[in-house]
Symmetry: C2
Subunit: 276 residues, 2 copies
């Protein structure tokens, strides 16, 4: 029995990918009643309920809810699924959740984070192949057998498992995910206010690409940013200072070319990491 708490893009895709791998697996899912009525969710689950105790029979449990919901759920699990062989989460930050799992005395918990997404959240864009060949980060643990079980599970869903410590995970995600998300969002509001609708109609693909993340679901970000604030804040502060310094040197051609050459080189480094 596979239990899934949270049937958004990730949770529903876990169900679809598990069904693809194990056609006869029994999948039980927990979320708010409205989410459980979504046709993709209905089709993906054998049992759906808003009651957390529904996942009591789970051998493997996936927590695919927002970070704050995962943290609030962990203390309840010891009483509900004491014998689960693997409990894994998909939250966007790992230190906070790892601490909560330890305090909850969950000895089969492994932190996880699939590097997969879509243009919008929710079950609409969920896919059985969402994780195929994408990294799925696993938080290291002294229990090698447990990590090995987690690795087998996420690889069965199509992902490439990579083990990392929670602090490194959070530091990297602050840079490659959380800061770009904040920047795209604040930039979008600033640009829309300054340009008016006439100006927005003149915008090209550059603005659209740069601000695409601004359409992320607002409700999931508060707990991500709060649980990684110590890593995110220094980068945002540094970025703010660099923007203000450059604002005072816009007529310094040498400095502008230096900044843009460094950026093009950094972007080339990112492009070299692309996997097909």
């Amino acid at each position: 029995v596979l239990g899934i708490v949270g049937l958004g893009l990730i949770g529903t895709s876990v169900a679809l990918a598990a069904r693809r791998r194990w056609p006869s697996v029994r999948i039980v899912g927990v979320d708010r009643p409205t989410v459980l009525l979504h046709p993709t969710v209905v089709a993906a689950l054998n049992v759906a309920s808003p009651d957390l105790r529904t996942i009591a029979d789970a051998d493997v449990l996936v927590l695919a809810a927002p970070v704050d919901v995962i943290v609030a759920t962990l203390p309840q699990l010891r009483g509900i699924v004491p014998d689960a062989e693997l409990i894994i989460d998909t939250g966007s930050t790992k230190r906070h959740i790892a601490g909560a799992a330890e305090r909850a005395g969950l000895h089969t918990f492994v932190g996880g984070h699939p590097m997969a997404g879509a243009a919008s959240g929710g079950p609409d864009l969920s896919r059985a192949d969402l994780f195929d060949n994408r990294p799925w980060l696993l938080v290291e643990s002294p229990d090698a057998a447990l990590v090995s079980r987690a690795r087998s599970f996420v690889e069965a869903l199509g992902a490439r498992a990579e083990v990392v410590d929670a602090a490194t995970h959070d530091a990297v995600m602050a840079a490659v995910s959380h800061v770009p998300q904040v920047v795209a969002s604040i930039l979008m509001t600033l640009v829309a206010d300054a340009a008016t609708d006439t100006g927005l109609a003149w915008a090209g693909n550059g603005l659209r690409d740069t601000t695409r993340l601004a359409s992320s679901p607002p409700e999931m970000w508060a707990s991500v940013l709060a649980s990684n604030a110590d890593r995110i804040a220094p980068l945002l502060t540094d970025l703010g200072t660099q923007l203000q310094t450059l604002a005072a040197h816009l007529d310094d051609a040498e400095e502008i070319e230096r900044v843009f050459r460094a950026a093009a080189a950094a972007r080339a480094r990112l492009d070299r990491t692309r996997r097909s």
Copy 2:
């Protein structure tokens, strides 16, 4: 005879679009010798030369060089093409160029800016249909017949002409183009430094989209930013302040949700302006 100064993405696409519309038009082009050897440029032009006097016979002249090259070229044109019926540029800022054209005594000059681009500069990605159904902004002028001529010309290339004053153009472009360009570039360097190559390999499409502009050709940006610094600097300063303010409130869930909801609403405004 159509003259084109600058055979990059825009200038070469102007040649291809003009050839599509007027198969027997004679097109003369001026650029550095290495650029003129590019096969697409060779195929698009009837005459190619590094000598500006080559465009002496032009009835219509298009200046498709970087902003600083356009500004340096304008004073020479009165002696070379005194009778051109239309001189139009494609520079990314308009006040600076308009001033230079006026000082040069060019009475058939109209400022222009096609809202069209590609993933990289240079003739490689030039296309006859680059301007099709895209806005081509024209700077207003008291000479209605001249503006009408410019409008006919850019519409013949496939674009939708829109007339705007130079100050509005520059204010809007600061917001929808120049600031996003600076932000994408500075963010890309910051993220690459903080994440290392291992971390970059975990990045998803969000980071790739947000920093796509960082691969723009560095050499064209210095003169764009310098010629619009008074419009760009306040926006960068404001953005820097907002990032630093948010850095101090990452654990304020209400504030984070407010910021992300405003951003999602602004992004929806941008999406509504999309034209097929």
